[in-house]
Symmetry: C2
Subunit: 202 residues, 2 copies
Amino acid sequence: MSVNKIITIGREFGSGGREIGRRLSENLGFAYYDQEIISEIAKRTSLSEKYVEAIVEQHSLFSFPIHIGRSFYPVADPALDQTLKIYQEQTRIILEMARKSDCVIVGRCADFILKEENPFRIFVYADVESKLRRCRTKGPTQENLSDRELKQKMSGIDKKRANYYELLTGRSWGNKLNYDLCINTSRLDIKLLAQALANLFR
Amino acid sequence: MSVNKIITIGREFGSGGREIGRRLSENLGFAYYDQEIISEIAKRTSLSEKYVEAIVEQHSLFSFPIHIGRSFYPVADPALDQTLKIYQEQTRIILEMARKSDCVIVGRCADFILKEENPFRIFVYADVESKLRRCRTKGPTQENLSDRELKQKMSGIDKKRANYYELLTGRSWGNKLNYDLCINTSRLDIKLLAQALANLFR
């Protein structure tokens, strides 16, 4: 088990999980890993960041193996081969990061990948209206979507995250028993909450 | 809406929800209501505390009305009449307590009864093994039960709580969307957590 303090954050799209993670890491002086994981995979595999991100964010049921870290049957398909490589690299990088220093890691099944390191596992969620408001405020790129389209987009992304998590871990995404703390940001002051929670890790 | 700070705590049996509530109230200097509600009902209805507790803890599907606070059809059965009176009194007392001062209220659907007062709603849970350990440590009266019997007792109590909550509120008990914060005490230091959380209410 790692001697480092590790906080993992799973989150519904638009719930503010990333902001909680960033604020916690700032309050505590912990390393913060999110997009950094993509960049590192790209560097190590010599693939473009854009390509790695597409594969990782796609969360497709057929684009990665169930038994990461175990032996694979021989692969003939070069695209599948590359996908496998990306997921293996991601697992390796997350483990390295967690062993290097205290850190906050957002997404990427880090709670499961790091289970031997005894991480503190947070899940962040909110009601649909609140996530919609948040997306409108934080994501100016969503401007051309109607409320209905944006809701569909949000639930589509969460569905992919759930599939990915469940396939990789065999556990149910967002099920409160898989987390130490579940935070509903619908009515919470995220800044205040991050300050209060930081006291758990000092 | 109340100007008071109100914290409501729903909890699985054996999860330590009551301890979190008590510690939060001590850290904050808030009033703490749990058994006090039973005593107050007994005083006002001139029924014995034992009787009131039996009715309230029984959580029977047929022992209370769905539409508390609304008009009731005429009641001929005096036992049912008394049960109705107890539940109406409980609702009234919880509202009075919340309006009197900052407070922590454990159980009794207080999150729902007080929804207009904008309470901070906590749900406390844990995995079965951890609740079992906790019951063994805290409840010496459980000593004569086997693990299997104690697990059955725990799940029976939670089943009653869930039925009671769902019938009274139309919501699903323990569903994370009904709470602001869900706390898994399986691996947490409750004392440390209560200290950290108290900062949210100062």
